[in-house]
């Protein structure tokens, strides 16, 4: 009976696996001609719409270069006027905020064709990145590992005392 209840509980949570995804802000960056296009979202199916966007130029990190909002699909675009590290901050004003550094190459400024060239996600391009399920498993492994360590230490202490 108890085994059935445990099994049904596990199956219940597995049913949610289709909607399992991290809850932070994800930002994908792409270059289209001279334009930098950013797509912000909570998850692949939920864009970060109408979020406040603040852009800082590498030439002046103290003053806002551009301020706007993402559109309904979570997109925001700007045309940098210099190469270097641009700072992009997106904030939904409900506690979800993301700050990323966009490296604008010098050849982008002379680009003519609006050819879409993906610069990858906000994670490091060209590096194999883990999906959300893999990260969840790592987190669980760390938690269970820590539990085991503390349990072992406590058991050893109890043994010494007895």
């Amino acid at each position: 009976m108890i085994k059935m209840k445990v099994l049904s509980t596990v199956l219940f949570f597995m049913a949610f696996s289709g909607i399992l995804s991290a809850h932070g802000v994800n930002v994908e960056t792409s270059f289209q001609g001279k334009t930098v296009v950013l797509m912000s979202s909570y998850s692949p199916s939920q864009p970060l719409a109408d979020a406040v966007v603040t852009v800082y130029s590498p030439a002046d990190a103290d003053n806002i270069w551009q301020r706007g909002r993402t559109d309904k699909t979570g997109h925001f675009a700007f045309m940098p006027d210099s190469a270097g590290d641009w700072v992009f901050i997106v904030d939904d004003e409900k506690g979800h905020m993301k700050r990323i550094l966009i490296e604008v190459p010098a050849d982008l400024l002379s680009a003519e064709q609006p050819e879409e060239e993906s610069a990858g996600t906000d994670e490091i391009a060209g590096v194999t990145v883990m999906n959300k399920m893999q990260k969840a498993l790592i987190g669980l492994s760390l938690i269970f590992g820590l539990t085991g360590i503390f349990y072992g230490l406590r058991a050893r202490k109890n043994q010494k005392q007895s």
Binding site: H23, G24, Y42, K94
Partner: protein, 195 residues
């Protein structure tokens, strides 16, 4: 409900981190051999719970399970909440690292409120469980909203409050279901821990 870095001022964040580490030490020390596995399992549940989220009013909210964590763990809930938040921040960038202390204090307060509510006698267990689960979300939400107001961050307080009231109601129902399950399977889990 996880506050990102850049919203709360750095000195406040540092102070909150120091206080949180102190609370982790005080609440976690001398945990027994029986409590440690329970803390680990609850921490794992808190960690994965943030993966289950749903859209409300243009934003994204998720369950917390702070109420049930408080009911199961009592005073041991704070170090578990802190650990779960730490890994959520490190692995999913959900919530900031600098704001870890602030987040832990907010959500730990929710868990401890659940402990107090659960341990009030005379009230039927269904009511206690539902209210504990509700408090586990609404108290951190109120603290977060107050912090936003103090720092001048954010837009509509009313909308934010409505969003978290809905989430807290869902959480109250889930806490009640979980308590019902534990009452049948292993009642000593929910009847034991206190402050």
């Amino acid at each position: 409900m996880h506050i990102s870095d850049g919203i709360i001022s750095t000195p406040v964040c540092i102070a909150a981190n120091v206080v949180s580490l102190g609370l982790v030490w005080i609440a976690g020390r001398k945990a027994s051999s029986e409590e440690i596995p329970r803390m680990g399992m609850t921490g794992a549940a808190l960690f994965v719970t943030s993966l289950i989220h749903f859209p409300i009013a243009g934003t994204s909210v998720h369950l917390g399970l702070f109420g049930i964590a408080g009911i199961i763990l009592g005073k041991r809930a704070f170090p578990v909440v802190f650990t779960a938040l730490l890994f959520q921040s490190l692995i999913f960038q959900h919530g900031g690292l600098l704001t870890l202390g602030v987040n832990a204090i907010n959500m730990g307060a929710g868990a401890y409120a659940a402990v107090l509510i659960w341990n009030t006698g005379r009230v039927p267990w269904t009511v206690r469980a539902a209210v504990a689960g509700f408090a586990g979300i609404i108290i951190p939400a109120l603290m977060m909203i107050a912090e936003f107001r103090i720092t001048g961050y954010g837009s509509s307080v009313t909308l934010l409050l409505l969003i978290y009231i809905v989430t807290a109601l869902v959480e109250g129902g889930i806490t009640m279901s979980a308590v019902m399950f534990f009452r049948k399977v292993k009642p000593e889990i929910i009847n034991g821990p206190k402050f």
